[in-house]
Amino acid sequence: MALLSVREETMRFGGLFANQSISFDVEEGELLAVIGPNGAGKTTLFNVISGFFPPTSGSIQFDGKDITGAPSHQVASAGLVRTYQLVQLFKHLTVAENVEIGSHRVTRGGVFSALFRPEWMRKQEKNVCEGARELLRFVGLEHQADLQADKLPYGRQRLLEVARALAAKPRLLLLDEPAAGLNTQETEALADVITRIQRGGTTVILIEHDMSLVMKIAQRIVVLDFGKKIAEGTPDEIKAHPDVIAAYLGGTETVDA
C-alpha cells in the first residue's frame, strides 16, 4: 500500500483553481519530485497535504489513515514533516537548538518532567542533544552548532532547515524548493544530503525548479501546470513527454538536463 495517496484533490481560492483534481501515490522509500512553472500550484499542494488548509474537495491518505483536513501539527505528529519555500528558522536560537526542537515529535514530556527531571527525561535530553550533533554532522554544519541561526549564510540556513526536519524522524519529508537561491556547489551538497536521506529509508517529496537536480536524484516526477497534473513518470519519460515540453516552452524554463 502507498505511504501517501492524494485523491482528486482540488483547492480553490475564489475563482482560481490552484489545484484541480490532482491524484497520485507515493510509495514507501521513494523520492518523488513535483515540478511545474511558477504558480502551477506546487506549494499549494504541499499546504494541503500537510494540513495547512483543508482541500476544497478530494482526500489525502497517509499511512492508510485519512488525514484530509487534519490540523497541521497533527499531520506532522503522524510523521509527515515539511519545509517551506521561504526559510523559516528559529532565528533567535542557536543552530543546535533549532535541530533539538525538531525532535519534538519523537520525544515526550511537558511541564512536570521538565521540573522534576526523572531518569528517562535526562536520558532523553542527552539523546536529543547528541542526535542534534549527529544530524548537524550529517548536513555538514557541525562547526556552527553554537552560532545563532540567522548568522548562518543563506545556503547553510537551508541545510539547517533540512536537518531540523530530519530530527523529527519523518516517515515522509516534503521539501519545498530547498535549492532555491543556492549556488552550484551548495546545490551539489544539498543533492547529496537528499540522496542520503532517501537511502536512509525516508520517503521524500521534493518541489524543485532546478531541473538538473531533479533529473539526477528523483525516481519519479509529477508535473503540474495551471493547477492540473499534466504528467507523471520517470525522469526519462518526463523529459520526452510532449505536454511537459509544451508547458515549459510556454513558460520561461527549459527541460535541459
Binding site: S50, F52, S72, H73, Q74, A76, S77, V81, R82, T83, Y84, Q88, L89, F90, K91, H92, L93, T94, A96, E97, E100, I101, G102, S103, H104, R105, T107, R108, G109, G110, V111, S113, A114, L115, R117, M121, R122, Q124, E125, V128, C129, R133, E142, H143, Q144, A145, D146, L147, Q148, R164, A165, A168
Partner: protein, 328 residues
C-alpha cells in the same frame, strides 16, 4: 559574537557562570538587610516584581506572545489573599496557593478564546482584561472595598509562625524569587521550553514540526498567570495593604520597563530589570513625583535603542541564555 566550534562545553565553567547572578542577588539582598527598613521595603518590591516579570517573560520572552493584562492575575492573587487571610483567617501560604489555583483556572478560561488572536488584537484583548479586573476592583466595593483598599492583611508565615519584621520577609522574598527564576530556567531548558521558543521563532515552522501551538501558548499563559498571582499575594502580605491602583496600568508599564531593561527572553533579565527599575527612583531622590514618567521614559528609551536589554548586551549572560545544559 564569534562562537566557532565550542562543542565541548565544560559543565563546571557554565555552572560557575550561572551562579554569578545568584551571588549578585544575595549580595544585593545582604546589603539591604544591613540598611534601613525603607531600603528593605524597596528591595522587597524588587523581588516581588522579579517574580511577576519572570512569569511575564515566559509568555512574552520565551513564547513571543504579548499580554498587556497580567496585572489582572496579580489582582486576583492580591485580593484573594487579602480577603482569605484578613476576613477568613486563612494561612497566608494556603491562601497563596489557593489564589494561584484560581488564577490558573481564570487564565485557562480567558486564554482559551483570547490566545487565538494575534498582533494588535491580542495586545488589545489582554489590555482589556487587565482593565476589566481593575474596574471590577474599584466598582465591586462589597468584595474589594473599592478605592478604600484592603488593609489588615497579615504578613507571610508558616504554621502559625509569622515573619514579623520586614527583614525576615525580605529573606523569604529573595528565596522565593530565586526559586521562581530556577523553575523558569528549568522549564526553558527542556522539550517544553524549546516548544515555547519555537512558537516565538516561527509559528509555521513549529506547526510543521508537530508543536500544538495553541496548547503551548495556553500553558505559557497559565504559567505567567501563576507567577503574577503569586506576586500579587506576596505584595499583599508584604505591605499589608492593597488598593486598585496597585494593580493598575502602571503595574503593566513598570513590569514591561523591567522586562525590557533587563533583557526579554533571558533567564536573569527579569531579575536585573526588576532590581534596577525599583531601586533607581529611590537613588534619584526628589524624583518621586516623576516616578511613572521615569519608568515610561526608560521603557521607551530601551525599546528604541536597546530592545534586547542589558542581559542582551552582556556576553556573560548571553551564554547562560544560549545553552546551559543540565549537567546532572
Amino acid at each position: 559574537m564569534t562562537s566557532h566550534a565550542t562543542i565541548s562545553i565544560e559543565p563546571a565553567g557554565i555552572r560557575w557562570q550561572a551562579m554569578l547572578p545568584v551571588v549578585a542577588v544575595v549580595v544585593v539582598a545582604g546589603f539591604g538587610l544591613l540598611s534601613s527598613d525603607y531600603v528593605v521595603t524597596v528591595l522587597g518590591f524588587a523581588f516581588i516584581y522579579t517574580i511577576f516579570c519572570t512569569g511575564l517573560n515566559f509568555f512574552m520572552g520565551y513564547t513571543g506572545q504579548a499580554s498587556f493584562g497580567q496585572s489582572a492575575f496579580a489582582a486576583i492573587g492580591g485580593y484573594g489573599s487579602a480577603i482569605l487571610c484578613a476576613d477568613y483567617g486563612w494561612e497566608p501560604l494556603l491562601a497563596l496557593f489557593a489564589t494561584m489555583a484560581l488564577s490558573g483556572v481564570a487564565a485557562v478560561i480567558v486564554g482559551f478564546p483570547t490566545l487565538r488572536l494575534r498582533g494588535h488584537y491580542l495586545a488589545m484583548a489582554t489590555f482589556a482584561l487587565g482593565l476589566i479586573v481593575y474596574e471590577v476592583t474599584i466598582e465591586w466595593t462589597g468584595l474589594t472595598q473599592g478605592y478604600m483598599g484592603y488593609s489588615g492583611i497579615p504578613p507571610l508565615g508558616i504554621a502559625g509562625y509569622e515573619l514579623v519584621t520586614v527583614k525576615q520577609q525580605l529573606v523569604a522574598l529573595v528565596v522565593l524569587a530565586l526559586f521562581g527564576v530556577a523553575v523558569a530556567a528549568r522549564l526553558r531548558q527542556s522539550r517544553f521550553g524549546r516548544a515555547l521558543a519555537s512558537i516565538a521563532g516561527s509559528e509555521s515552522a513549529a506547526l510543521a514540526l508537530g508543536v500544538d501551538i495553541a496548547r503551548y501558548k495556553l500553558v505559557a499563559f497559565v504559567i505567567a498567570a501563576l507567577y503574577a498571582s503569586a506576586a500579587g499575594s506576596l505584595f499583599a502580605h508584604f505591605i499589608g495593604f492593597i488598593s486598585p491602583e496597585v494593580f493598575g496600568v502602571t503595574m503593566v508599564v513598570q513590569s514591561f520597563a523591567m522586562l525590557y531593561l533587563g533583557g526579554i527572553g533571558t533567564m536573569w533579565g527579569p531579575t536585573i530589570g526588576a532590581i534596577i527599575v525599583s531601586v533607581l527612583p529611590e537613588a534619584l531622590r526628589g524624583l518621586k513625583e516623576m516616578q511613572d514618567i521615569g519608568y515610561t521614559a526608560i521603557l521607551i528609551f530601551i525599546l528604541i535603542f536597546a530592545p534586547r536589554g542589558l542581559a542582551g548586551l552582556s556576553a556573560l549572560f548571553g551564554r547562560v541564555r544560549g545553552r546551559v545544559k543540565e549537567a546532572a
